[in-house]
């Protein structure tokens, strides 16, 4: 009910504060949530990935996600510095359905917010909820250390409720991943992101 109430508020907020006001609102909500979840420490990637799979990390509040441990991110020395993670279903899909069956339709501001975010921040949003996800994950990653090093989170690709997809060439470039690889992942997943060591010297960086 609270999620539907917030969606109803988006229409109102976008009319009064403009779509950029809604972007700021979602960004603040995501940031606030991540900061309150607290810090986490892991010895290495295996223990982090087990915790992730079991829903024990700060990321887990979003719902079920899978560490794709066959897709490791390596640095210039060939050491593993991160992995790809993916959600089969965005946790906002049930919210979208609840809005559909209680209010009737998503507010038109939904698309407008996503478009504004794509034009001004990062061309990755398929709906207005992507705004909260991206900021939330970035902030959660800052609170987690693996082997003493803090993390970074890069949103790589999204698939919306109506099938629209967005792939971040900018972030794929950073980790040296081919867009076709992530496109194949979108057949099975709705949201794909990378978690990696902050400041890792990646192959792309080493060019």
């Amino acid at each position: 009910m609270l999620d539907v109430a917030l969606v109803a508020l988006i229409r109102d907020m976008s009319e009064k504060a403009g779509v950029d006001g809604t972007i700021q609102y979602w960004t603040r909500v995501g940031e606030n949530l991540a900061k309150r979840i607290g810090k986490e420490v892991y010895m290495g990637w295996p223990s982090f990935n087990v915790a992730f799979r079991e829903g024990r990390t700060g990321f887990s509040i979003e719902g079920e996600a899978t560490p794709l441990t066959d897709l490791a991110i390596t640095d210039v020395d060939g050491d593993v510095v991160g992995y790809i993670y993916a959600m089969k279903q965005c946790c906002f899909v049930p919210t979208i359905l609840r809005v559909r069956y209680s209010v009737g339709e998503l507010p038109r501001a939904d698309k407008a917010v996503a478009e504004e975010y794509n034009n001004t921040v990062h061309d990755i949003a398929v709906c207005n909820f992507c705004v909260i996800h991206e900021k939330f994950r970035e902030e959660v990653a800052k609170n987690i250390t693996i082997g003493g090093q803090s993390l970074d989170c890069l949103l790589l690709a999204t698939r919306g409720y109506t099938g629209e997809t967005k792939i971040s060439e900018k972030n794929l470039g950073k980790i040296g991943m081919n867009p076709d690889q992530v496109r194949a992942l979108l057949r099975n997943y709705e949201c794909v992101y990378a978690i990696l060591m902050k400041g890792a010297k990646l192959k792309e960086d080493g060019k």
């Binding site: 508020l9 909500v29 719902g63 906002f92 609840r98």
Partner: protein, 205 residues
């Protein structure tokens, strides 16, 4: 509405719920309990106003829609109706978000209770925490959008029980009228409060 659709409608989004609670705490830090109370009430009223108005020919037809969740007033909760006017919510639609909050963040911030105290003194003494303000304001606004046999529908809260078992019952001086409208006795009310989340009444003048 088929059962899977209904189930999805009642379920909450814990991610948004927890994020919202924290955001509400942020508002309270800046605007105090009064400011938060205004925000909660406008959030709930805005939701109800975004849903379509309804009209029914008879009370029986209306009750069928209420029981099946096809009416806006019960869209987000599973209820049963021990009488023609008494409605009982089995489980708070906010419970899952609250459980997720205490699991991921810690004990529920005191402001959620303080804002309820403010609401109880300024509006109606029927809430235990911020979520009840949202829920009860939503019901009141949604009820105002209903017409049965051409007449308005009125809503009143009789009692609330939170997930931890704490109860808030309408003031003693209000109870006889409310129980009469609901068609239940005080003993029946206590029986209902044992394992349900809310007891409320819908009626017409």
């Amino acid at each position: 509405m088929n059962p899977p659709q209904r189930e999805r409608l009642i379920e909450s989004n814990p991610f948004v719920d927890v994020a919202t609670h924290l955001f509400l705490e942020d508002i309270a830090d800046k605007q105090g309990a009064a400011g938060l109370n205004n925000y909660l009430m406008s959030l709930a009223a805005n939701l109800a106003r975004s849903m379509p108005e309804e009209e029914y020919s008879t009370w029986e037809e209306f009750l069928d829609a209420v029981r099946s969740g096809n009416s806006i007033i019960t869209a987000f909760e599973e209820i049963f109706t021990p009488t023609q006017n008494c409605l009982v919510t089995r489980r708070s639609p906010f419970e899952r978000g609250w459980v997720e909050y205490i699991k991921r963040v810690g004990s529920f911030s005191r402001i959620h209770r303080e804002v309820a105290d403010y609401y109880n003194s300024a509006v109606k003494p029927t809430t235990l925490n911020s979520l009840h303000i949202i829920h009860q304001t939503f019901r009141a606004t949604a009820a105002a959008r209903l017409r049965v046999g051409g007449k308005a529908v009125r809503y009143a809260q009789i009692a609330t029980v939170w997930t931890d078992g704490e109860k808030k019952i309408a003031p003693e001086e209000w109870l006889p009228v409310l129980l009469e409208r609901a068609g239940i006795t005080h003993t029946q009310l206590n029986m209902l409060l044992r394992n349900n989340a809310d007891v409320w009444v819908l009626y017409q003048e």
